[in-house]
């Protein structure tokens, strides 16, 4: 079925047009026209402006058009798609459409491209004005082409994420996720060319296109990123990452549409995604230490970025936790499977549970981290061991808690999950602050890895080891509780 015969696409196109598109197009045209007028004004009276050259003026005005384009297409498109799907789900239309012979991929395609048409039109108008600005100012056409390709690719990528959000969350929760993202993202600017998030969102690629030899942003934004020391075009890196991860998201969406009772990610998909993300991230960092962490590489580049590995450690934790959430099966589904297939032993549970995935993810993260220690392991074994074991403990605690709370507290699982994580991760910091005790803050589940990787000159290794050991005790206790809950569920099932 072609896109223009896809009923979901056609209906959303109709709904968008019924809501009116002319005003939106006029707004985009006004923004574009204002920026073009600014450039024309500069070219007529250059002394009235503070630009050092026509190129700088052109790039500034063009920069504003693509800023507006990103705002409209990526952020506006994402929220529009997520909202359309959440609304259709609430109204029962999602189920009505699922009952038709439309293939799941056709449903996903319709929601991907239909609801955000107004934003596509606006972006098209802005892109047109951007092209006029580029041509009028004799800027390289590759600047326009490169930015448009990146924006289009990111819009499509975010469109898929929008469907994911619409499938998984209510409208209000989508806003919350966006706020969390806005809070976390600034960490990416610590070392722009070395943080994966700057390539997943093509911030580096776009900024890089604007750079010249005499750019005042320095090498942070102008040098190409390096994968294990080999330079790569930032645009290619962004497109490649978005394409590969997009394929996984697409697969997950199609599968979830066909059967909404399955977890979002299959276990192998979660593992492969984690491998791609973690390996890419560590390969971008490679040139800093070249396997001699914590000693800076001979080139001495970026040796001021001492905390970079702990920021990546934090990113690895967030990524792992997200993937574990997506790959974790709902207990009810396992119970139904147990009834269907007749298995009663915990081995079968373990092979379906996110706990085994947590172990695999921890092993992958450990292997990826090892690349930074490859030639200095003998001297840095303590740092590596604490960071890796702590990561494994965090993943295991999360996976065990997630399933324990779902089994024990059912609909209240989220609240209890938040409570236990707050107790294990945040309370020690609060108590440490209130009682002015650094030691208390160091017993948080989150602390050992960060301390080992960033405070490596003078950490209290003994305390770190005891802390890691105590956390292992928590893992064991949780494992026993987790096992009991599953046993109880299986007994009830049979």
């Amino acid at each position: 079925m072609k896109l223009f015969e896809n009923p979901i696409f056609l209906t959303h196109k109709r709904l968008v047009h019924r809501g009116g598109v002319l005003a939106a197009i006029l707004i985009a045209a006004l923004i574009g026209f204002s920026l073009l007028a600014g450039l024309v004004s500069y070219l007529a009276e250059p002394d009235d402006f503070h630009f050092s050259s026509p190129q700088e003026a052109g790039k500034t005005f063009f920069g504003w058009t693509i800023g507006a384009e990103i705002l409209v297409l990526v952020i506006g498109g994402f929220s529009r798609i997520a909202r359309a799907l959440a609304d259709d789900r609430k109204a029962g239309l999602w189920d009505s459409n699922r009952l038709t012979p439309l293939k799941p991929s056709q449903l996903v395609l319709g929601y991907w491209l239909g609801p955000a048409l107004r934003e596509f039109y606006m972006a098209g108008v802005l892109a047109g004005f951007g092209l006029i600005i580029v041509l009028a100012d004799h800027l390289p056409i590759t600047l326009w082409l490169g930015t448009q390709i990146l924006i289009a690719s990111t819009a499509l990528f975010f469109g898929l994420l929008g469907i994911l959000a619409g499938m998984a969350f209510q409208r209000s929760q989508g806003v919350l996720i966006f706020l969390v993202f806005l809070f976390a993202y600034p960490f990416s600017f610590i070392a722009p060319s070395r943080m994966l998030t700057n390539f997943l969102l093509p911030i580096y690629g776009i900024t890089n296109l604007f750079q010249t030899e005499h750019s005042n942003l320095g090498r942070d934004w102008s040098s190409p990123p390096e994968i294990f020391g080999l330079p790569i075009y930032p645009i290619l890196l962004s497109l490649g990452l978005q394409f590969i991860i997009g394929i996984f998201i697409w697969r997950a969406l199609v599968r979830k549409t066909a059967n909404p009772f399955q977890p979002l990610l299959l276990r192998w998909e979660a593992v492969v995604l984690f491998v791609i993300l973690v390996a890419s991230q560590h390969s971008l960092l490679w040139d800093l230490w070249r396997g001699h962490f914590p000693e800076a590489a001979a080139s001495g580049r970026d040796n001021e970025r001492e905390s970079l590995l702990s920021v990546v450690h934090g990113g690895t934790i967030i990524t792992g936790i997200l993937l574990l959430t997506f790959a974790s099966p709902l207990p009810e589904r396992v119970r139904v499977e147990s009834l269907r297939l007749g298995f009663k032993h915990l081995g079968a549970i373990f092979s379906r549970s996110a706990v085994s995935v947590a172990l695999v993810l921890a092993a992958i993260a450990g292997a990826a981290l090892l690349t930074q220690f490859a030639f200095s392991l003998a001297g840095s074994i303590r740092i590596y061991a604490v960071a890796t074991v702590n990561l494994a403990e965090i993943f295991l605690v999360f996976a065990l808690l997630l399933e324990f709370c779902r089994l024990r507290h059912k609909r209240r699982a989220l609240g209890f999950m938040a409570f236990w994580l707050f107790l294990l991760c945040i309370i020690p910091f609060i108590l440490g602050g209130v009682l002015s005790s650094e030691t208390l803050a160091r017993i948080s589940l989150l602390s050992p890895g960060f301390i080992a990787l960033s405070d490596r000159n003078n950490p209290d290794w003994q305390l770190l080891f005891y802390t890691v050991l105590a956390h292992f005790g928590v893992v064991v206790l949780l494992f026993i509780a987790w096992q009991r809950q599953w046993k109880r569920l299986l007994e009830k099932a049979h």
């Binding site: 109204a91 012979p101 009772f261």
Partner: protein
């Protein structure tokens, strides 16, 4: 159940705290109209959602026209129409645009004609250019029914189709359902308002707490009934009629009221027919002879599935 158009075997749906549908088996032949009856929470909606593929089931099989849901879901979707107990519509589309959306999705041939036919069948032709949000609840209900009928499914699942309708809406809906019955559709229709179903159901399935407690044709189920409450009226005062009724072994709890009486009849349907014949032969001018409550109501009340009512 090889020739059944809709064949459900040992269907089981598990919810976290309860077995929502437990080992449910039933078979409907072409032209059957089956009332799925049960109190709220009996598992009627879950059963319908499981048959349509919206609800995952633990075990069992669902076949429509010989096509198994788990292995040939697309074939099943072409043959099955499900109307949920609420009215999902695109509020900003007109009724004909709404139907066009689904006609495309089902790849219905000669879309425009089919849409017209369905609008006509559901008496919405004059509303074809109205937005869905402008329709009353009853009209929306009919629109969703029209949508369900678009691909001309062989089997229709109608979940509480009259819930929330005013009396006029119910009468209109009832007429449409009778038309479907006449058109030979196989219909499984759920309701806990039995008067909605009486008159056009030839089969009934009674559910309670996820289990099918009775299933069969109305005649079969009627025959299984231990007793039924009857009402009889005659034109002039008839002591003879009361004597006949009093003398009959199957007549219990006889109550007289003006020119008539009500009684429980504990016997076979044939014996009840014979009793009427006896009254007429004895010269009683019977002007009314009916069950108190319709057949379905009586079957339901005697099925034991009333604890949750």
């Amino acid at each position: 159940m090889p020739d059944s158009l809709l064949a459900i075997e040992r269907l089981r749906v598990d919810f976290p705290e309860v077995v929502a549908v437990n080992d449910l088996s039933l078979a409907l032949d072409p032209g059957d109209v089956c009332g799925l009856i049960g109190p709220n929470g009996a598992g009627k909606t879950t059963t319908m959602r499981a048959i349509s593929g919206l609800q995952e089931f633990t075990r069992g099989s669902v076949k429509v026209g010989g096509h198994e849901l788990s292995s040939e879901p697309d074939e099943l979707k072409k043959r099955l129409g499900f109307m949920p107990d609420f009215c999902p519509t695109y509020d900003q589309l007109t009724t004909s645009e709404f139907l066009e959306h689904f006609a495309r999705a089902f790849d219905v041939p000669d879309r425009a004609k089919r849409i017209n036919d369905c609008l006509e069948l559901t008496w919405l032709t004059d509303k074809r250019h109205s937005l869905c949000e402008e329709l009353s609840r009853g009209m929306k209900q009919r629109l969703v029914l029209a949508k369900t009928l678009l691909p001309d499914p062989q089997v229709l699942l109608l979940d509480e189709p009259a819930s929330g309708l005013d009396p006029l809406g119910r009468i209109e809906l009832r007429k449409i359902l009778l038309q479907l019955h006449d058109a030979g559709k196989t219909v499984l229709i759920s309701s806990h308002i039995l008067s909605e179903l009486s008159g056009f159901c030839n089969k009934a399935a009674i559910m309670e707490r996820g289990k099918l407690v009775k299933f069969g044709t109305i005649t079969e189920l009627g025959a299984q009934m231990g007793k039924r409450r009857m009402s009889v009226k005659w034109r002039v005062a008839e002591n003879g009629a009361l004597q006949i009724l009093n003398a009959h072994r199957a007549v219990k709890n006889l109550e007289t009221a003006g020119l008539g009486a009500a009684f429980d009849f504990e016997g076979e349907p044939d014996a009840l027919d014979d009793l009427l014949k006896t009254l007429v032969v004895q010269g009683v001018r019977v002007c009314e002879w009916r069950g108190v409550g319709d057949d379905l109501e009586q079957i339901f009340l005697q099925s034991g599935a009333k604890e949750l009512m």
